[in-house]
């Protein structure tokens, strides 16, 4: 305050008036705040704080509620049984393997495309109408309700625009040692579901990968060019290795989101009641016993963990509420594994940064 007042030339300051003017009264009023206003200040802060913690409160209530409902029902046989008409025998094995196949295939499909698109936008097409078009398109896609993706997947993958409506084909693909039968249209198969989920994950993966690429300073690229590397060599051997942790974090978060998606899979025609795992693989050991199952699985019918939860929640029998709660516990545990992995990857990528 002193510094400010000494800066003002004394000549321009009007002589202080003897009587307190209206404005000085205002200042005094502000200084001596009435009790009511103090309470208002505090009340506002508490309201805001309470609103922030409200979400946590609901989360805690939700978790306690689900634990309470599902506690006795989450047993080992629940994880290894198929769905059943008797609630005490119902289990999630079909949903677990279904979700595993869906999410794995979707990740395999979406990661190369998503990272490729991010590289194109960040390293190649850094300006121009094409980039604007793709960017606008991406930000709009991120806001499209997931059920609309389900409709797209149903029309394009399950029914293939009705091209094979009257004569469904069975395309036989020979791999030399064995062969795969691919149904056309894909129908209500794991592959249709995985491709739909891949489209749903794509915007998330692209956005995360772009952020990871953008965080790398241009000087690193310039150094690589100066050594005579081509554009692609620079990306492949210099830029991408540094960006990997960031990309991995984004992919895991996208996977966690896809694993909980229900609506698009319902549109694709996930089975509500299914006593079969994709390809007949019920445990990792089955892969060795029945290796051909790996090739059959993508073209098999499927159900998924969230679909089973939806089915059990909508059953009228009250026992199924407990079954649903137990399945929710399994789903939340799986998602938590993804989230923890993502945060570890994020922490790693931060500590690894060397510039």
């Amino acid at each position: 305050m002193n510094a400010a007042s000494t800066n003002v030339p004394s000549a321009s300051v009007p002589p202080p008036s003897v009587r307190p003017t209206e404005s000085t009264q205002d200042v005094l009023h502000v200084r001596r705040r009435p009790a009511l206003s103090r309470w208002f200040e505090r009340g506002f802060e508490w309201t805001c704080a309470a609103s922030t913690w409200f979400g946590l409160g609901v989360l805690v209530v939700l978790l306690i509620g689900v634990l309470w409902q599902g506690a006795g029902w989450l047993t080992w046989s629940f994880l290894t049984n198929y769905d059943s008409r008797h609630p005490e025998n119902a289990g999630v094995i079909a949903g677990l393997w279904g979700s595993f196949w869906l999410v794995s295939l979707a990740t395999l499909l979406t990661v190369p495309i998503g990272v490729g698109a991010a590289i194109f936008l960040e390293e190649y097409q850094t300006k121009g109408w094409l980039r604007t078009l793709i960017e606008v398109n991406l930000s709009n896609l991120a806001g499209v309700p997931s059920i609309v993706y389900g409709i797209l997947g149903m029309a394009v993958f399950v029914k293939m625009f009705g091209v094979f409506q009257h004569d469904p084909q069975l395309l036989e693909l020979s791999l030399g040692f064995t062969s795969v039968e691919i149904p056309l249209p894909f129908g209500r198969t794991v592959l249709s579901g995985a491709m739909t989920l891949a489209l749903l994950m794509l915007p998330v993966v692209i956005v995360a990968s772009r952020e990871a690429l953008r965080a790398i300073p241009p000087s690193i690229r310039h150094a690589s060019y100066a050594l005579g590397a081509t554009h692609w060599q620079t990306i492949r051997h210099v830029v991408l290795p540094v960006a990997v942790p960031g990309i991995v974090t984004g992919v895991i978060l996208a996977v966690a989101r896809a694993a909980g998606e229900t609506a698009p899979l319902l549109m694709i025609g996930a089975a509500i009641f299914l006593a079969r795992t994709p390809g007949g693989i019920e445990s990792p050991a089955d892969v060795f016993r029945h290796p051909h199952g790996l090739l059959e699985a993508p073209f098999d019918h499927f159900t998924a963990l969230p679909i089973q939860i939806y089915n059990w929640v909508s059953r009228p029998e009250p026992e199924y509420r407990h079954v649903a709660a137990a399945a929710i516990l399994v789903l939340l545990a799986v998602l938590q594994v993804f989230n923890v992995t993502a945060s570890i990857a994020r922490a790693r990528s931060r500590s690894r940064a060397r510039w």
Partner: protein, 321 residues
Amino acid sequence: MSANALPPIDLKRRFSVMRVRELTIRALLLGCALVSVLTTAGIIYVLVTEALIAIPPEKAFFQEVSPVEFFTGTQWTPQYQDKHFGILPLLAGTFLVAGIAAVIGLPIGLAGSIYLSEYASRRTRNLIKPILEILAGIPTVVFGYFALVFITPYVLRPIFQGWLGFEVNIFNAASAGFVVAIMIIPIVTSLSEEALRSVPQALREAAYALGSTKYQVSAKVVVPAALSGILASFLLAISRAVGETMAVAIAAGQSPTMTLNPFQSVETMTAFIVNVSFGDKPQGSLEWKSLFAVAITLFVMTLAMNVISQMIMRRFREVYQ
């Protein structure tokens, strides 16, 4: 290290293996980027050919049902013998649920963002942000379960049926609206907080210098300065609420009625789409096509909200950067 050891490099050579490889890779990457554009094109193509204009032998929904009947009809009975395709009951259900979600979720989300940006210490912020992320990552089907199994029987029924005498249906818009509110709170909080934090510190300091209190600075200076960003987050959240499917399909019911009573069973647009895809409706039937007519309405609504939200955000960025 003698220069003679290296073969001479022809810098003017235009066609080399390396250059062809570079161009091929570029084309492949362009293909990857175009997948997202194709997705949008696919969505629009599917919705338009089934709902608006079909390829000649087929007939689209609006070529059989007049758009006037569709947008002004008050009866939605595609599964009955006497079919009526008036989308107003579905719109009413959608807006009832989204409205309840907005009334609960937007103020709480905004207040939370004010706390995080203006009041909370760094430690508190680092504690709360991951919790919000967990909340945002909970699958919607779990929220549907929560609404049906906990909110309606343990919260709504004791309060509104036991004390206040309303009749609370087991499927009702209020429980669905409540859980959708929980879902949009993390969106509003994190996006609004970003907007509030990007308000320049000088504005706050100026307000304090005039003798303002913390409340006055927050509510009368920072919030108005970030208003466009906050509005954008609100629009995005409402669009999410309108497009939300599973929680609403489980908790709000399946009866398309025109009502403003939050304790009655309603049907939203998304719930109808799920229910039609459930039963094996023959492809090409009018009921089947009505799914696409509802979907295109939903798509256009959410798209419009997202586009407006982005326009507001872009304008807001120009102001302070």
